[in-house]
Structure formats: C-alpha cells, structure tokens
Amino acid sequence: MTEYRFESVPEVRDGLRKVDYLSDEGIAGIVYLADRLKKPILVEGPAGTGKTQLAKSVAEMIGARLIRLQCYEGLDEAKALYEWNYKKQLLRIQAQRGNDSWDEVEEDLFSDEFLLERPLLEAIRATEPVVLLIDEVDRVEVETEALLLEILSDYQVSIPELGTIEAKQIPLVFLTSNNTRELSEALKRRCLFLHIDYPDMEREKEIILTKVPDITENLADQVARIVRSLRQLELKKSPSVSETLDWANTLMLLGVEQVDAEVASSTANILLKYQSDIAKAVREFAADKQGMKAFAPGPK
C-alpha cells in the first residue's frame, strides 16, 4: 500500500555516496528508518559535521526539492508557516466598492489568492517530492517549537480561516541542532534521533578524497591522520569536517605533497580557531608524544 523510497540500508549508503555524501551505518540506517516509519530525523552534533549537508544530499539523492526553514531567535508563525497578504487584501477591499456583499468579500479575502506560503506550509502543500529541512531548530524559543509539532507528527497544518491542510505526500523531514538549548520532550518524542559526531579516520579520508579535487591518496591520508590526532588533544574547539576540507584545499593550493611539522604549523590557523589551540598543536607537532597512554593491564 505504501511506497518506500529505499529498499535497504546499503542502498541509502550507496545512493548518498553517489551524491558525494559519505555516511556510515548509523546515518544511513536512520535515513532508511525515517522513510519506513514516516518520522522526522532530529540531527544533532558538533558544528561542521555534515548535518545540514545530509538533508541536502538526501534531497539530491531522491531527486526531491529541498525546502529549507532557517531558524533564528524571533522566528514566528508568519515567517515559518503562512501569512495573509495584507496589502493585496486592502486593495481587494478598495477595488470592490460596495458591489458585493461583505460576506462574499470576506470569504474571498481569506482564500488561497491572498495566502503567502512559508516553508512549512509550502512543504505540506507540495505535490512533487520534497525534503523539508528545519535548520538549527535550537535557535528558536521553546514556545516557538510548538509551531512545529503538528507538522512533525501529523504532516498537517491548521489555519483558522482555511481549516486543516493535510500533506499531499509525506516529505522526509530533517531538523538540525547544535544543542545550544535543550529541545522540548514533545519535539524529541516525535523524531528519530541521530547524533553525528566527527567521522572516524577512514571516513574523513574518503570525504577529503571526494570533496577536494585532484588530491592524492597520500595527502588525504596524512590530513585525516593529523586531524584525528588533533581531535584527541584537549582543545577549546576541535577541527570540524569543513575545517579539515579547508585545510586540505589550502595544502593543495600551496602545492604541498608531504605534510611536515613546519607546513602543519604554518597552516594550523586554518584548522584551529583559537590562538591557544594553535600554540598547543604546534607544540604537539614538534614534540615526542607525552604521557603515552598506558596499556599496562591492571584493575582500575
């Protein structure tokens, strides 16, 4: 009775790879599940780990239009859902000059013609396949979250003047969050939860190879390894995937073939944002590894 978009988890994984998104078992599995269960995905994790890109890539993979609601503090119904076009309504009232009865005018005023669609409504009313991305949902106030709940659980929107509008097709929905605020239980309950962490070394290397034109396997490998080692340090801000990519691109521009301590140190400012982090990294690049992790067996 229902059509599923994907046959299997590996199909999702391969499909994403074809559009240059490198996922893992968790990411692909949850996208697959979201389609099966018709549930939105709440994607959370550190900055620059491909949360927003996931929604875009999924849209590309299934050939759907991406509708994006960018959240910010102060976002309201009129910007998220719909608004009446007051100007046009006023013109209509003036133009009509007593020919029609008021009832007719009123009915007319609150018809589709005067409705301004915002992203949420747009996604619900779309007839073609869409992916809805509600980006950085943690930026809106808790109270505003309530606007989303109806859509997320029932794929419908209630507009007092028009009644309830149901989705023509169930869109895949992604919400992203940087966890600057705890989201409400009500919102979380409606979603599948996906935490995207920094990728492991192998996946990061693949991302580099896919996203940085002409980079050699060898250089990509070095970049990924250095980034992995940096993330093990206690830094104020670990390098994100986008910073890794920026760094790899810079190295390419500089014509670097082999990353040595000097090159790494002189370009560390691309990878790290805080002066103290850069200083720490430079120190680490040049020194013997301190405090080798103890593998000595022994009860803790």
Partner: protein, 510 residues
Amino acid sequence: MTDHSDPALVNGDDDNLGDLRVAGEPLLDLLNGFIGELREAGLPVSLTENLDAMAAIRHIPMEDREAFKYALAATLVKNNAHWRSFETVFEVYFSLRGSKYGLDDDSLEQDLADLLDDDERDGAGDEGSGQSGQGGGDGLTPEELQQLLYQAMMKGNESLMKAIARQAVKRFAGMEPGRPVGGTYYLYRTLRNLDLEGLLEKMMEQRREQAEADGHELSKLEERLEQDEYEHRIDALKKEIEAEIRRRLVADRGIEAMAKTLRKPLPEDVDFMHASREEMVGLRKALIPLTRRLAVRLARKRRHNRRGPLDFRRTVRASLSYGGVPAEPKFRHPRPHKPEIFVIADISGSVAAFARFTLMLVYAISGQFSKVRAFVFIDGIDEVTSYFEGVEDVTEAVHRVNTEADVVWVDGHSDYGHAFEVFHNKWGKDIGPKTTVIILGDARNNYHASQSWVVKEMQHRARHVYWLNPEPKSYWDTGDSIVGDYAAYTDGAYECRNLRQLEKFVEKLA
C-alpha cells in the same frame, strides 16, 4: 546490495509483530526485556518511544547488528550523553543473540584457521608466518599466538585481530563457570599475557626500521602519527577482548546479573568525589549543555516573575480615569533584583573536583546574578574573582584558580577555621543584605578549631547562607567532619554529590 529478506524477520506492514521470533524467542518479549533493562539503567523511555522501537525493528533485522543498534538508539535515546549507558545495555542484552555472536568454540577455531589460511595466501613471503596447516588457534604456542597478533596488528588486519582476541580470552583469561570474579580480573589476566605495551614498542621499532630501510628517518610528527595509529589499533583489540569476556560472562551468569554489574551511572549521577578520569571527561561534557539549559530556564523564570503583586491603591487611583472601572491593574515592583553571589570553596584534594564544577557552573550562568565573587581556601584563603573577569573560557579560569591561588597558609591541610577567620577580617564587611553566600566543602577540618562564629556573622549580614557538601549525608559529622557546627548557622546544608543535585540547587538560587 545486502538483502533483508530473511523470511523470519522482514514483514509487510500488515504482519503482526507478535509473531516475529528470533531464535525461537518472540521479538516483542525480547524488546520489552531490553527496554526494561534500559529503564533499570536510569534511561527515560516514554511509551511513544517504546512503540517506535517496536515499529523500527520490523524494518531492520537483528542480524544487521550495527544498523539494528542504531535503529533502537534512534528511537529510544534522545540524549547523546546517554549513549554509553545505552550501548552497555545493548551489548550485554544482545551479546549472545544473533547467529554470528554465539559462543561456539568450534566455530572460533574454524574462524581462526580460515583467517590464517587467507592471511597466508595474500601475505606470502612474510617472515615468521609458519603456522599454516595447524588447523586453528589451539595448535599455536603462546609465542606463536603473540607473533600472529603482532603481524595482524602491523597489517591492521581487523578480522584476524578479532579472532585472536577471542582466542586469547579463551586461553588466558582462565574463565570458569560460576566463579564469582569480575570482568576486570579476566581482562587483567588476558592483557598480562598479551603484553600490549611491549607490543606497541615492537610495532614502533619495526616501523622505524622499515623507514630506515627506505632510506629516511621518521620525523617527530611521523612518529607521533604512527603511534596514534597503532594505539588506535590496540584500543580496538582491547575492546574486542572486553567484548569477548562480556559475552562469556553473560553466557555464564545471565543477562540480568551482568547488566546489573556493568550498570554505570549516567553522567548527571556520577559522584564528584569518586569519578574516574573517563567519567570526569563525561562530566565536563555534560556540564556545558546543562548550564545552557539552566540559563534558559532561569531567564524564563525571571521573565514570568517580572510582575509583583497587585498594587491596590495605585490600581484604584488609575481606575478613576475609567469611571471607576479597574481597567488598568497596577503592580508592585517586581521581585528583588538579581542576587549577588559569594562562593567560598574548599579546593583541597578530594573535594577539588566538586569545587571546580560548582565554580564552572556558577560562572557559566553568572548572567543570572548581579555579581559573583569567588574565594578559595585550603588552610589559607584567597579571592579569585579577577581570574574570571573578561575570560571567554571558564575552564581556563578554573585551571588558574587551582594552580595560582594563594591558599596554603601552614601545611596545605584543610583548616576551615583559619580560612574563615581570614575571610572575616578581609572581606566580611562586603557581605550585605543582597548577598547570597555559598560555602563548598566537606567540613573535614583536621580537628582544628571550627570558628563557626564567622558563619554566624555571615548569616547575620547576608540574605542567605548555604552550605554544599559533596559527601553522602550519612558521612556528615563523622570523623573530623564538623559540617553540623557550621550548618546550624546556614539557611540550609545540602548534599551535593553529582550534577543532578548541583543543578537543582543552583536553580533554586536565582
């Protein structure tokens, strides 16, 4: 493309979940049992989430273990800080379920034998790989096993590494049914025999030689990266060994008993005084979202409280301009302004971690207070407010507090009495009716004089005085703890052993 069409597992939408079975066990029961264990571990699982998980497992078969795990997590765990607890329960609960994960020594032998054959074929020419045709692990001497491990690790051959890990447990852990010892003991015995530190050294040595043979010396950076890689592999091996021990223990003792033994507190329940290094890291991570949450909650609370009670007289006066209708209610001034906070913290030995977390928390939400001043002591006392001024990173300030503050007077053993006396002389008069004083410590005073009159004096001047003690209440006033002496002059002394209790207290403050 893998297909998921195992008839026992994949079903159309109209099938009844109740009919699904895994190895004879109804899937539904399995899931309910699992969720029960999660709840036992303190994870909140709502009814909706329970139903979602049931729906999820119709679509992802258990054989697809990783995907199955993520599917359950996606429906049941909506807080990343709870992932570790989830994973532990998952590993225990499902460790023996699913064909590949059974505990079958014969298949274990066969696995290793097969892998050795494979390895032989593509690794032809490697020195020291003369174990072919011995038909599996049992035929190997310990030295041969060690050598094999070294080769697997050098090559990063994951499946061989896993097979060896299982073999090593079987051989070295000395596990016997019904023996009442913990997993760490078996881990210890296994690791002792494998000598991982020596292994790492040997790997590094080999790598250096190889580089030399290629005519260059490894730079410091290269050494570092190689070592990180090898440590990574060794970590994976260790995890595999732990997993194998766990599987065997579960087989021996049953799921419930094991889940209980392995149950670890959630980060918000970890005891400050006894946190392991790993738990400390978890605590620090949990603190950040917690402060954000708290700040938002407090700000909202303040907004809602902006109105004071109805000011009757002004309302009536205003009503005159509406013909006597009280159309415009007037309110008294809002509640008193944001409080001013004095934190006075013992930062000696065992309570240091607690002081650190409290300072971090208080400063992270310092916007909620009109002013925060911080004092730290051991037997001497020092004001550290300036350390926190204009810094972007509270952690760094706290670090400075611990390394730079001048808190030792005589011998660096806690002396609350002396520290309080000095406080009184230097800063006592700064405490006013808007000040809330929070004293942090276990009040273990090494049998010095308490000088509790200082606290009495504080209470006299301040709006509130609170005491937070990181020790369990049952330890208070035992041995050299004199918290009762001080508590008598406070508006409350609270046990504060974990983030959950700390959060609750701080919320009350603002």
